[in-house]
């Protein structure tokens, strides 16, 4: 194995070095803010949390893997060159390992080393005005590991003798699918496990292809299984692409749908609004009075320009876990709003729940702010001196009248603090009752008195920093389901009544069913009105169910219908018929393909299961993998016969027997007494 390893290194080190230089230049240009990067990326602090930088790293890893895997294998796949490589006293596995280990080293030089140097530079104090945590390298490490999936996929593509426009490129599609799955992982450990599975499957597939490029049946069983999974994943991408195209086509012909929702305007009036696409058709309040203002062309104008400025509290614990969570910047820190000309940068750090400041000129750490105040850099704050957001962090900024600088509102246990980063001040602005637990806090937008809202489960506190008033209202009951609460100060009233909306979570500014309550400034309920849910026509895609039934694996369609009867339900005869037809077609196609390939009963069972669980993707994988050389038409009876058998099973035995004539010459050395053995 060692000779192969050194041979590969010797052969491809220049390629890896060239890749290293190119990637290092990319990293350098990013870190130094050299042009051609999008301005919005350069405007941010250039650290490992920038999504664009992570994408760069992932793309570099993929390209490095693709190029190396292909380069190491494809030039040697020519028939005689392959024979020269593999026909030597070394097993195929050792050959493969030698190539792969060398490939790992080359890949490390190309993709990992420049990234590692960049990480070192970023981590060095004084280079980037942002914190550095070890967890910040996890996304990059995982993306680099995922590049190995592309390496093996490229190797498979180079080894496998299939059509370039056919299934030969499917391993690459499988890698892309894996990358997409990785991007959606919420935790680093989940992403690492997904990456490990993907790289292992593709690695085993590559090993199997190296073992036997053409004859799948001679590969080790685990490699065969991995191959089926790889091609099925690739087929799934093809199917998904087809489905997306179908849905786009069906959408093009679809007329704009209309829907109706509620919207709260700044005078506290709830309007029922009907719109089509982005066009507002009509708006009436709950008493039927139309919206009074129209634009010159007769359309409803300026409707959304006067929305209720409010604190929108959407209470849903699950919203904290988002796809790609461990990659996101807000997994590590959140920017604290500040004036643009401010020479400092302040962030709220998730690891210690303190507000940290960095000097933008020296890029060094200034210090941090906790509930007990500012602690300069170099001094360790007390262990308990931190905020406590309970995953519901909301940082709002307010150019508050009468208050210097910018304010952020931060909760901590049952207290709420306001933080002024310019003056490094911390002020406790609210202390809750012992039985209250702080659920959510938010500033009232548009309000110049710096009022903020705190939701404690039982009560809603509206605290005005301007005059120190504290208004406490009963919190709407949410039950066990998440609820959406909007609190605002109406514009038209002289003293501004308080509006509290609680309803089913929706996308603002649209509101669904809920209750609108008006309170006066003393907290007395003025009015309460409940509005029922508006039933809009189904927004589902035309033919969406039909497409899903035809493209999803039959097992999933069946399970979804049984366990979640509202979608793909069997009570719809047309959908049921379509499902049965699709299933029949899939099974017939599978049977036909297996019959042509002369598969044994065990293989047939495996493939039928693959199709049941993989659907169209499974059939595509079978199409790509089946051995269509196993059968051929019999020259005598014309029916398909198994070539492994010496005789055609349909007609006379030995139907393909060689035609002998009287010109054959068969003789051995020993049969000729006058001929001597070889000297």
């Amino acid at each position: 194995m060692k000779p192969i390893f050194w041979k590969e290194l010797q052969q491809w080190w220049k390629l890896a070095l060239g890749g290293f230089l190119a990637v290092a230049a990319l990293h350098y240009s990013f870190l130094k803010g050299i042009a051609f990067w999008p301005a919005n990326i350069l405007y941010q602090s250039r650290d490992l949390t920038i999504l664009g930088y992570q994408i760069l790293n992932a793309v570099v890893a993929a390209i490095a893997g693709l190029v190396l895997g292909f380069a190491q294998v494809y030039p040697e796949t020519h028939r005689d060159q392959w024979a020269f490589l593999v026909f030597r006293p070394l097993s195929r596995t050792h050959l493969f390992l030698g190539k792969t280990l060398a490939g790992l080293v080359l890949y490390t030089v190309w993709a990992f080393l420049p990234w590692a140097l960049a990480v070192g530079w970023i981590a060095w104090p004084g280079h980037v005005p942002a914190p550095f945590e070890i967890a910040m390298v996890y996304p990059g490490l995982i993306d680099l590991a995922a590049g190995l999936a592309f390496y093996f996929a490229s190797m498979i593509m180079a080894l496998r003798p299939a059509r370039w426009l056919g299934s030969r490129t499917w391993p690459i599609l499988a890698s892309l699918l894996g990358a997409l799955i990785l991007s959606q992982a919420t935790t680093a450990i989940g992403a690492a496990i997904a990456c490990l599975i993907g790289v292992t499957v593709l690695g085993l597939t590559a090993w199997g292809c190296f073992h036997q490029p053409e004859d799948i049946g001679r590969r080790p069983a685990v490699a065969r299984l991995a191959f089926v999974l790889t091609l099925s994943a690739g087929g799934m991408v093809i199917v998904t692409f087809g489905v997306i195209c179908l849905q786009i086509l069906s959408q093009v012909s679809r007329p704009e749908s209309e829907w109706t929702s509620y919207t709260l305007r700044n005078d506290g009036t709830l309007y029922k609004v009907r719109q089509s696409g982005s066009q507002l058709i009509e708006a009436h309040d709950l008493d039927g009075r139309p919206f009074p203002f129209t634009s010159k062309d007769g359309r409803i104008g300026e409707f959304y320009s006067d929305m209720m400025p409010s604190a929108h509290i959407y209470f849903d614990p699950s919203s904290a876990r988002q796809p790609g969570g461990f990659r996101r910047r807000d997994h590590f820190y959140v920017e604290v709003p500040r004036p643009n000309e401010f020479g400092e940068r302040w962030i709220y750090r998730m690891s210690d729940h303190r507000v940290h400041g960095y000097d933008l000129t020296s890029k060094r750490h200034i210090g941090s702010i906790g509930p007990k105040g500012f602690t300069a850099s170099g001094t360790e704050p007390a262990a308990a001196d931190h905020f406590d957001t309970k995953g519901n962090l909301v940082l709002e900024e307010s150019g508050m009248r009468g208050y210097p600088g910018w304010m952020s509102v931060l909760p901590s246990s049952n207290q709420v603090f306001s933080v002024f980063v310019e003056s490094r001040e911390v002020r406790r602005v609210l202390t809750l009752d012992p039985d209250a637990s702080l659920l959510k806090t938010s500033l009232l937008t548009g309000d110049q008195t710096g009022s903020f809202v705190v939701h404690t489960g039982k009560r809603i506190h509206i605290r005005s920093l301007g005059n120190g008033d504290d208004l406490v209202l009963p919190a709407p009951s949410t039950g066990n389901k998440p609820d959406s609460i909007q609190v605002g100060i109406s514009k038209d009233d002289v003293n501004g009544s308080v509006i509290v909306w609680s309803g089913t979570p929706t996308s603002p500014p649209d509101l669904s069913a809920g209750t609108l309550r008006h309170y006066d400034r003393l907290g007395n309920l003025i009015s309460s009105r409940h509005v029922a849910k508006i039933e809009n026509p189904s927004q589902s895609e035309p033919f969406g169910r039909q497409i899903a039934v035809c493209s999803l694996p039959p097992i999933i369609v069946f399970a979804a219908s049984v366990f979640e009867g509202s979608y793909l339900a069997f009570e719809n005869p047309a959908i049921t018929t379509l499902f049965c037809l699709t299933l029949a077609l899939l099974l017939v196609a599978t049977h036909r393909l297996l019959h042509q390939s002369g598969a044994c009963s065990r293989e047939r069972l495996g493939w039928f299961l693959t199709v049941l669980f993989g659907g169209v993707a499974g059939v595509l994988a079978l199409l790509a993998l089946r051995d269509d050389t196993a059968t051929a038409p019999c020259p005598h009876c014309g029916k398909l016969r198994l070539l492994k058998s010496p005789a055609c099973s349909h007609c006379a035995p030995s139907a393909n027997a060689s035609q002998r004539n009287a010109t054959e010459i068969f003789a051995d050395l020993q049969s000729l007494p006058d001929l001597k053995a070889c000297p």
Binding site: F84, F87, T629, S645, Q659, A662, A667
Partner: protein, 305 residues
Amino acid sequence: MNADHVIETQDLTRYYNGKCVVDSLNLQVPRGCVFGFLGRNGSGKTTTIRMLLGLVQPTRGSSALFGTDSTQLTPALRARVGYLTEEHRVNMWMTVQENGHFQSQFYPQWNVKVFQSILDHFRLKPDAKAKDLSRGERAGLALALTLAPEPELMIMDDPALGLDPVARRALVESMLYITRRQDRTILFSTHILSDVERVADHIAILDQSVLRVRCPLEVFRERVRRYLVRFPGTPPDLSTVPGVLQSSRSNQDVRVTCVEKDQSVIQALRSYHPTSIEEVQLGLEEAFISYLGDRGDRPAFLSDN
């Protein structure tokens, strides 16, 4: 499997895209022989060789090297076999010396003297890049890489392809050198019949994927004959006589090339009551061409009368 045979096949068959390219091949290659493997282009020689080496899976049947199934060859067995490919493939980006060093690491029995002597024979410089070598020089390098491990069995697929006469002669001499030792065996496929005549003592011929000849070279030379058969009048079509390969009629003569065994063909020709039957001298090359050429009656140029 016979221990005296280094290569044995049993009904070895291979299909490509429904077409049979090797059909029920039964071949035995004795130990210590130089075995010429002949046939027209596309007759299945290379496919057979690749199946023997385990590079291609047969559709049906089996083959064995040193008594071991070709699909189960171990690294130790592969060390005893040298394979020279048709295109004389080497590592093109390496120099001559680097190719030798790389290859030597796989073979404990690597003979540096053999390697160097072949390089000297082909006048190859150690620091020359393989990609800069001519076709013949690269063949010499490939031959050196194959012979230096001193394999017991050499399998060469058209080794003289693209070589000039001088390089070809060097190749043939190398083959003769190998077979000085009685335990060395060579199987080579070729189209150069003079090389076959010079070195081979046993041949096999594939005709349209079917093995038609497997015998010592002398037997082939003896059995393939040509007769000039004269008739008093218009000569009949003799191509249908069993054993006749080709016939060519002109005026009153028929030139018949046939495979003669136990005088059966000449007996059959006499039944047509010719004026005379003369045996015509037939060279080995002509015999091969006749055997592998189109069968049946062929028109001949009429002589000037």
